[in-house]
Symmetry: C2
């Protein structure tokens, strides 16, 4: 008999005479001549109530079913006389794959996030983490659907890279040499005998490669893992995380901001609608203000202000900040959150930052002091998107590379794109985990990643 997913059964309009579900026992309650068994198969937050009567051949075994035990239940879907659920299954047969032992760590009680991190292989079996990872999957799929529908080409930019990726932060190095196998003693290049014959890193962004594809195929995006080897243990940083990076030919900063706003609002609205049951769990138990925050993002247009105006607002505010505000310094998360949570109480796009605090590839504005950068800032998170119009003028780009200390010899291919039919183009990066933290209210990035990697921590 084919198995049916509980998610589908719970949406049924009519009783079903004969079906089978397979899943894991969440709870069992015994009456005199029958038992209630809640079975969950992971397809949705809800389990289904199974009625097991003492006429079952193996009822004595069924009365020993413990939390985590695996079963296949054949029977009939009927309306439940109970108030807690619409449907229940009257079992005609219960096959037991395996009893979970007494030391099964996920007994029916509240566990701390810290404990659940230590059993990352089991935590998706809980309501909270099942919900997180169902939302993660649905959001990832919707990202693909959103871009596909708009004729964007999905590009798998490389993870292994020989360029130093805009000099952003600390990098992981990839090698096939054993420690001590580097032949630097004889004065030669220590990487000459390495796998790629040169120093190789894990990418921090697919942007530069995506630009090459945008300048061939028009609108493209990447969606893949990126890496930072920063040795900082915060709730907002992981060493491995996923980024979505659209890159659009013939697109200026204003169009880029409009598109970024449309993307974020679409994605939040989609998760609210399609993951209603799971988001409801987070709104009840994790962040009481979640639905207000998300509704606000869907309904109100985002504020747009220049970096200069943002600095003015922050300087005039009576709030105390740990980091000083002054023109020419980058905004810190506390400043961003003040703008979005206290001052405007809605998402804000800050644009046109000073050139000296931004990377070489951002387009220099006519004032020559600022670049066509933009950050989308949302309540509770701070920056969720960073983007810019790219510098399409070869001569200005060369000046900027020199000014920011880039080694232009390894970027000959990037420079080529400014000589062979160069056009205005723009793009941005959305940190996928930050988006998931936004829509779930989860405050630690470790809790929205299946198996998170942070300094000193690489279990599973």
């Amino acid at each position: 008999m084919n198995k049916t997913k509980i998610k589908r059964l719970l949406l049924s309009d009519t009783p079903i005479a004969s079906l089978q579900i397979r899943g894991w026992v969440r709870t069992r309650r015994d009456a005199k001549t029958f038992s209630f068994i809640e079975v969950n198969d992971g397809s949705c937050l809800s389990g289904i109530q199974v009625i097991a009567e003492d006429s079952l051949a193996n009822y004595e075994e069924v009365r020993r079913l413990s939390t985590g035990s695996a079963v296949a239940v054949s029977g009939e879907l009927r309306e439940s006389p109970g108030k807690a659920q619409k449907w229940e299954i009257l079992a005609t047969r219960i096959h037991i794959y395996q009893f979970a032992p007494e030391d099964y760590p996920l007994q029916k009680k509240r566990h701390t996030d810290e404990f659940l991190r230590s059993i990352g292989h089991l935590r998706p079996r809980t309501n909270k983490y099942g919900g997180v990872f169902r939302i993660r999957s649905e959001a990832a799929h919707e990202i693909h659907r959103f871009f596909h529908e708009r004729d964007f080409i999905y590009v798998h930019t490389p993870i292994l890279t020989g360029s130093d990726c805009e000099g952003a932060g600390e990098l992981f190095r990839a090698t096939t040499l054993e420690p001590g196998d580097h032949k630097e003693a004889d004065g030669k290049d220590p990487y000459a005998h390495d796998f790629f014959g040169q120093k190789t890193h894990l990418t921090v962004s697919g942007q530069l490669e995506a630009e090459m594809f945008a300048l061939a195929l028009g609108d493209v995006y990447t969606f893949g893992p990126t890496f930072r080897a920063e040795n900082s243990n915060t709730r907002r940083h992981a060493s491995e995380f996923w980024m979505v990076e659209p890159e659009m030919a013939f697109c200026d900063l204003a169009e880029n901001m409009a598109f970024a706003e449309a993307f974020v609002r679409h994605m939040v609205a989609h998760v609210l609608t399609r993951c209603e049951e799971d988001v409801g769990l987070f709104a009840r138990f994790v962040d009481k203000s979640l639905l207000d925050t998300l509704g606000n993002i869907v309904e109100k247009p985002f504020v747009r202000i220049s970096y200069q105006a943002a600095v003015d607002i922050l300087k005039k505010s009576t709030a105390t900040f740990s980091y000083e505000i002054s023109y020419g310094k980058d905004l810190q998360t506390e400043h961003e959150r003040y703008l979005a949570e206290t001052h405007f109480r809605q998402p804000v796009i800050v644009h046109d930052y000073p050139r000296q605090i931004k990377p070489f590839y951002m387009r220099v504005n006519d004032d020559e002091k600022t670049v066509a950068a933009m950050d989308v800032i949302v309540p509770g998170i701070g920056e969720i998107i960073g983007g810019s119009q790219r510098e399409e003028r070869a001569d200005v780009l060369e000046t900027r590379m020199a000014e920011t200390g880039m080694d232009d010899s390894s970027y000959w291919w990037y420079m080529d794109s400014r000589r062979y039919g160069s056009v205005p183009h723009s793009g941005f990066g959305l940190g996928f985990e930050r988006f998931l933290m936004l829509v779930t209210g989860v405050t630690n990035i470790r809790d929205v990643i299946p198996f998170p990697r942070t300094p000193g921590s690489i279990d599973f």
Copy 2:
């Protein structure tokens, strides 16, 4: 004025009075009082013919437009009197972003694949590579849609891993230490001061982690980059490639094979339909038998034979092979291709391989000599999918780990899953690049990857 993609214009049912396209010049031909300009924007293989008359204000400049130059063309979509195309644009304005210089490498002539690899940043501008990467994008999207529609949860399994990943092939190591910084001299663990405090690799498969999620959420899949540091320069191997790996709880080998077959046939049919124009290019210029090969896959059910039967067929064949055939040795690509191309002339699924040539996690059959493995073999490629039912019995799994020399201490979490509600489950991996080679007829894996990584080669 909003830009329109050429892909959309070419599908138009009616003339359009006013529109704008933006793209790059492919060719220009001049008549006495006007010029034909073919403009391509990457949205599809075809460009659109633009008629530029000498009444244009900048017509003298327009007559200098070279291949690769970037333009925005405003005008009217009208029926073309020419036979080669249905629609053309009569230009009312042509804005020139940049002339491509005379040394633009992609002049209108045939280039070798080797040359185009050396300009990987420009090759997506050619018909062939534009086609490859549009097909790659459409196929990747359809993979997500296929699984999403069937209620599979998409899991981002980690790239960085501390386990040795089934001991499969050579691994890349990830580190933040500089060469010489390993403190092995004092007899301590050389990785004690490394970022994760232990030896860390790039993943070769997300399977083991995906199993943990299947045993919580039911049906899951991963789709992401995987890595092999094999120092072999073949046309079939890259150091970085993408894999699709579904993993299904409550699924046996027969169901796994049926699902793998349905998946491959669906994907081939989808590419044939949705990428008709691009596939047509490959059928004309790359592989004349492409449409026959693909049609055959869509139409005929796959053959299923045991490994034993496959060995018998190969032993009886009169073909000469470089590698010897005997029971207990793995099938080589030449053997696989003989089965699919010569003997059966259609895809074949070989199942139930000898246990000694397969990894520890494959389920031991009742004969105790074979495991519940299966490989899907297609003409022109050989193995495109490898999968198995997984060993769900803790005691047998322990025996197998010992037998295959695995260090079970780093797999405590994997073993846990066989103690806490273990169930029969199965999965497989499809090499995404091999699939792309199948549907395009491209014979070198380097030519279906945006920026391929192979030994000694990490440009761009």
